[in-house]
């Protein structure tokens, strides 16, 4: 039976299938590991968005990794509270996103105003210009919106604050 530290390291290999440069640990999706007295292992995860279709794949990948480590009884618990926030993303994760061509979330997610919050200034991940605009609040996945850069004219995804 592997110790929790080894398991945690192994789980760092589990990637988000939509954003393959980020691991579930980078994202803050992996919330905890618990070993019960009977030897079974519980993995606690939290979804980024409630309808995120990647969650199923993530669960499968976790089980695969743990089976390889010789774990026999694994349960995966989805915990909603505290709700996932982009604030949990590590700085390293934000840098990885940037390098991958996705603008990382800027500022904190504490924006409570639902109506007409001012548009965020987002840096273009390609040419680093701040001269960008939001094309659509909703993008290719639930967690992103679509931006375009006025300077290099490239469209890009922005990982929006939640």
């Amino acid at each position: 039976m592997a110790n929790l530290e080894t398991i945690e390291q192994a789980l760092e290999k589990v990637k988000d299938p939509e954003i393959p440069v980020l691991t579930i640990k980078d994202l803050g999706v992996l919330r905890g590991l618990e070993r019960a007295e009977d030897g079974s292992l519980k993995v606690i995860i939290t979804p980024t968005y409630s309808g995120c279709p990647a969650m199923y794949t993530i669960e499968q990948s976790i089980k695969q990794v743990l089976t390889r480590l010789g774990e026999e009884t694994v349960t995966i618990e989805t915990r909603l509270d505290p709700a996932w926030t982009t604030d949990w993303m590590t700085e390293e994760a934000k840098q990885k996103l940037q390098d991958f061509g996705i603008a990382p979330p800027e500022g904190s997610s504490a924006d409570k105003r639902a109506l007409f919050g001012e548009e965020k200034q987002v840096t273009c991940p390609h040419c680093k210009s701040r001269n960008t605009f939001m094309k659509s609040q909703f993008g290719s996945t639930a967690c992103k919106s679509l931006y375009q850069c006025w300077d290099c004219e490239e469209p890009f995804d922005y990982f929006k604050c939640l």
Partner: protein, 253 residues
């Protein structure tokens, strides 16, 4: 008392879950048919959020009913067991109608969730906290569209008037202080039905004043979607949505 609380929690979960499920299904019908790609994607995203939230609410409702699953509730109930508002089951119509319906629902959804996050019931508060973050984005998007269309070209303004005539008569159901809404003030601190409704009116007046639409109460019919009384449309939705798990009960992904 404990039993009453449980009943209220079940009613609430079914109203929230069924509304999210049926509206999410309606919005999914736009997938591939949106006016432009970005907005097609936007609606599909919102549909996905709503279906995700429906899963959370219905899982909770199933637990309260003694171990039913979200799928039992979504696929194995008939029309009279659904608790959604009639408004969300109405056909999509044109883009303006879908957007106006969405906005009116988002405004209600947002006002509800803002209070539900305070519930002493940790399951309900947890689902509400998760959902509220997503609904913030829904409401912002639908508000902007209602204004853009209502205060846009002659044609878009005319279509919004047309949408208004279609959708506004269904609004009354969101504003009825019915049993399930009243039950909540017994156990959610600071929850009053009046406050939810006042918040709804505030959001709607703010947006409608810019969209050139009248936000006036009318003699609304007493609609009872939340009690299982539905329009003919819901049956067609269920026929499509439930076909597969009913015809092939062993089907899995």
């Amino acid at each position: 008392m404990e039993q009453e609380k449980q009943k209220a929690a079940l009613n609430l979960s079914l109203v929230m879950g069924d509304n999210a499920l049926i509206l999410g299904h309606r919005l999914s019908e736009w997938c591939g048919h949106g006016p432009i790609l970005e907005q097609d994607i936007a609606l599909s995203n919102i549909a996905l959020d709503l279906i995700g939230q429906a899963r959370l609410w219905l899982s909770h409702a199933g637990k309260l009913q003694g171990g039913k699953s979200e799928d039992d509730l979504a696929y194995h109930r008939d029309v009279f067991d659904f608790h959604n508002f009639q408004m969300v089951e109405t056909p999509n119509g044109h883009w303006g109608k879908t957007l106006l319906r969405q906005f009116l629902y988002d405004a209600w959804h947002h006002a509800m969730l803002q209070k539900l996050v305070l519930a002493q019931d940790e399951d309900i508060a947890g689902i509400a906290r998760k959902s509220l973050k997503e609904v913030n984005y829904h409401l912002r998007w639908s508000s902007e569209w209602v204004i853009r269309l209502g205060d846009g070209t002659e044609e878009s303004a005319a279509k919004m008037q047309d949408a208004y005539a279609d959708v506004w008569p269904y609004v009354g159901e969101l504003l009825q202080k019915d049993f399930w809404l009243k039950e909540l003030d017994q156990w959610i601190p600071g929850f009053t039905a009046d406050e939810i409704l006042a918040q709804w009116w505030k959001t709607v007046r703010e947006v409608f004043s810019q969209a050139n639409l009248p936000a006036e109460p009318m003699d609304w019919l007493y609609r009872k979607g939340h009690l299982g009384h539905h329009t003919e449309h819901l049956g067609f939705i269920l026929a499509e949505m439930q076909f597969l798990p009913r015809a092939y009960p062993d089907a899995t992904w």
